[in-house]
């Protein structure tokens, strides 16, 4: 039963992380190139525009949910399972979500990169 809880928490981490990353990416594309905007309109404009973006606020909420899911996962399972499983599944989940929701051109080069990184993280953190 503990196994089911651990994998349930890992799934929650992955979903919350992917949702957070996708929303943050969408928010920052809506804000625009931060460096150029800061030079043009000043730092306070950048901060104001970022903090008032609803996608940004939802992204931060999602990331907080991922963090608390991680705490729960670590209380049920070993860090040697939780950390690599969550990190590598998040890489693959991000690549799929970026293609579907952000319409990024995830070509063969990026699929290979995401798979290599996910496998590498699993080996390194395991």
């Amino acid at each position: 039963m503990k196994h089911v809880y651990t994998w349930g928490a890992i799934l929650a981490i992955v979903v919350a992380s992917v949702v957070g990353d996708v929303l943050l990416s969408r928010a920052m594309k809506q804000v625009g190139d931060v460096g150029a905007l800061r030079r043009r309109a000043g730092l306070w404009t950048v901060i104001g525009r970022t903090l008032s973006n609803p996608n940004f606020l939802l992204a931060v909420t999602s990331m907080a949910a991922a963090f608390f899911s991680l705490l729960f996962a670590l209380s049920w399972g070993d860090v040697s399972l939780v950390a690599p499983a969550a990190a590598s599944l998040t890489f693959i989940g991000n690549a799929i979500a970026a293609k579907i929701f952000l319409h990024e051109r995830v070509d063969r080069r990026r699929w290979i990169a995401a798979s290599l990184v996910a496998a590498g993280v699993a080996l390194l953190a395991g």
Partner: protein, 149 residues
């Protein structure tokens, strides 16, 4: 991609690793926190390593959001994974820890993955956004011509 943007990506990697390492070091000094005494997390912030770790993680969040404002998520993602490689190299060459062959394979896989994605374009150009940019440029040209006349 210019030098400033490569610097931001390097910041994503370095800040994440430094923040995680300091937070981990600080939390080991603070000791275990029971789920029944969650308020002790607040006192953990008073530990200098934890405070410094949070400061570096704020740096990570700033550089990460900055990078996402001009690059695709699937482009920035591998840069964050380079942090694992950096951490393993610090463990091997600074802390003189043993790295198993499987971990070396992991390092090679992540580095090749980052190399693969870094060779391609950083941002997907969407047809609508491109049309918008062209319209904006045409409008600016028109205004320029009118001012010139």
């Amino acid at each position: 991609m210019n030098f400033r943007k490569y610097l931001v990506l390097a910041g994503v990697t370095v800040f994440a690793v430094a923040g995680d390492a300091m937070l981990s070091h600080g939390m080991k000094q603070v000791g275990g926190i029971s789920l029944h005494h969650l308020q002790s997390v607040i006192f953990a912030v008073l530990n200098p390593w934890v405070a410094l770790g949070i400061f570096f993680l704020l740096g990570f969040f700033y550089t990460y959001t900055n990078a996402l404002s001009w690059a695709d998520l699937t482009y920035v993602m591998p840069a964050t994974a380079l942090g694992y490689v950096l951490l393993a190299l610090v463990a091997r060459f600074v802390l003189h820890e043993h790295i198993s062959p499987l971990r070396w394979i992991g390092i090679v896989l992540i580095t090749s993955g980052v190399g693969f994605v870094a060779g391609g374009p950083a941002l997907t150009e969407h047809p609508l956004a491109e049309a918008g940019k062209m319209a904006e440029k045409a409008r600016a040209d028109t205004i320029g011509n009118e001012v010139g006349v």
